[in-house]
C-alpha cells in the first residue's frame, strides 16, 4: 500500500489527530498530533490491511524553532512503510510513549531523551542510555555548548590557532 493511501486511512479514522501531510518532498510523511500518537500507532499496528508490526526507527530531530520525533514504520507482511512525525515545542518537548505499542521503542526513546531531552510520558525506564548518568546537557541539540571538562578531565583540547 502506498504511503498516501495510509495517510488517507489515518485521516478518515482520526481526523483530529492529523495535522498535515507532506506528499511532495523526497519522503512522504504525515504529522500527527502528539496526544493521539499512541492511538494512531495502535491502529496502524493492529489494522489487518496495514499491520505495521515493526518500528524500524525512531529519531529525534532538532530544528532551530521546533523539535520533531520521526517514526519509521514497516510491515513485514505487506511490505510497505510509512513515516510519521510529531512536532513538539523546544521548551517543553513532551509526548506519550509508544513502548506500549512496540517494545522496540524502548531504547530508541531513551536515546532520544538522552540526546535531545525529549520526555516520553509513561516510558517504563526513561534515563540516559549512552551518556553517563551525571552528564549535563543534551548534546545533539543545536544550541548545545560542549562543557570544558567532565569530572576533572578536559573535554575540549583545542590549541591556539588550530580550529
Amino acid at each position: 500500500m502506498e504511503s498516501s493511501e495510509v495517510f488517507k486511512l489515518i485521516e478518515s479514522n482520526y481526523p483530529d489527530a492529523l495535522k498535515s501531510t507532506d506528499l511532495e518532498g523526497t519522503e512522504q510523511s504525515v504529522t500527527i498530533d502528539a496526544n493521539s500518537i499512541v492511538d494512531v500507532c495502535n491502529y496502524l499496528k493492529t489494522e489487518s490491511e496495514l499491520q505495521f508490526t515493526s518500528l524500524m526507527c525512531l529519531s529525534g530531530v532538532d530544528y532551530e524553532d521546533k523539535m520533531e520525533v520521526v517514526y519509521h514504520l514497516h510491515s513485514l507482511l505487506h511490505n510497505h512503510r510509512v513515516t510519521l512525525k510529531v512536532e513538539l515545542s523546544r521548551e517543553d518537548p513532551k509526548l506519550p510513549t509508544v513502548t506500549t505499542v512496540w517494545k522496540a521503542a524502548d531504547w530508541h526513546e531513551r536515546e532520544a531523551y538522552d540526546m535531545y531531552g525529549i520526555v516520553f510520558d509513561g516510558h517504563p525506564d526513561l534515563r540516559r542510555i549512552l551518556l553517563p548518568d551525571d552528564w549535563e546537557g543534551f548534546p545533539l541539540r543545536k544550541d548545545h555548548v560542549v562543557a570544558e571538562e567532565y569530572r576533572g578531565w578536559t573535554i575540549r583540547k583545542i590549541k591556539d590557532g588550530f580550529e
Binding site: 549512552l130 553517563p132 552528564w135 548534546p139 560542549v146 562543557a147 578531565w153 578536559t154 573535554i155 583540547k157
Partner: protein, 163 residues
Amino acid sequence: MSIIENKYRDNVIITSVDKFMNWARLSSLWPITFGIACCAIEMMATAASRYDQDRLGIIPRPSPRQADMMIVAGTVTFKMASRIKRLYEQMPEPKYVIAMGCCATSGGPYWQHGYHVMKGVDQVIPVDVYVPGCPPRPESLLEGFIKLQDKIRRETIATTKAA
C-alpha cells in the same frame, strides 16, 4: 616497582639480577583481554594465526590480577575512563600500558567534535608505548610489543641515580 626495587645501589650483582629479571618480564608479557573498539579486532588478529603474538610469549589473560600489561585498544570515552583506571589499579606491579591506535593516543578522529571522547588515555593512566594508526596494523602492534620489551630491558632495581 615491586618488593626489591630501589633498595640497593648499582653494582655487578645487581646488574646481572637486573638482566635476569628483565629477561623474565619482557619474555612473558600477558595482556589483559580487553578490547574497546575497532583496534580490538586488530588486537585479536595479532593473537590469531597469521601474526601469532604467542611467538613472543604473549598470551591474553582474562583477569587483570594475572596480567602484566594492558593494551588500550580503542576509543576511551568518559563513561569508560573510570573503569580503565580501576582495571589498571587492579593489575599487579610491574605493569605496562600500550595505547593502541590514535583514539587511545589522542582522541584520533574524534579529537575535535567528540564531546564524549577522552583525548588520550594518558589523562587517566600512564602510558608506556604509543602505537599510532587507525587502526594500527598487527605488525605495528607487534612493533609496539618489541618497543615495550626494549623499555623493560633498560629497567633496573638499583637506586635511581640522581639524574
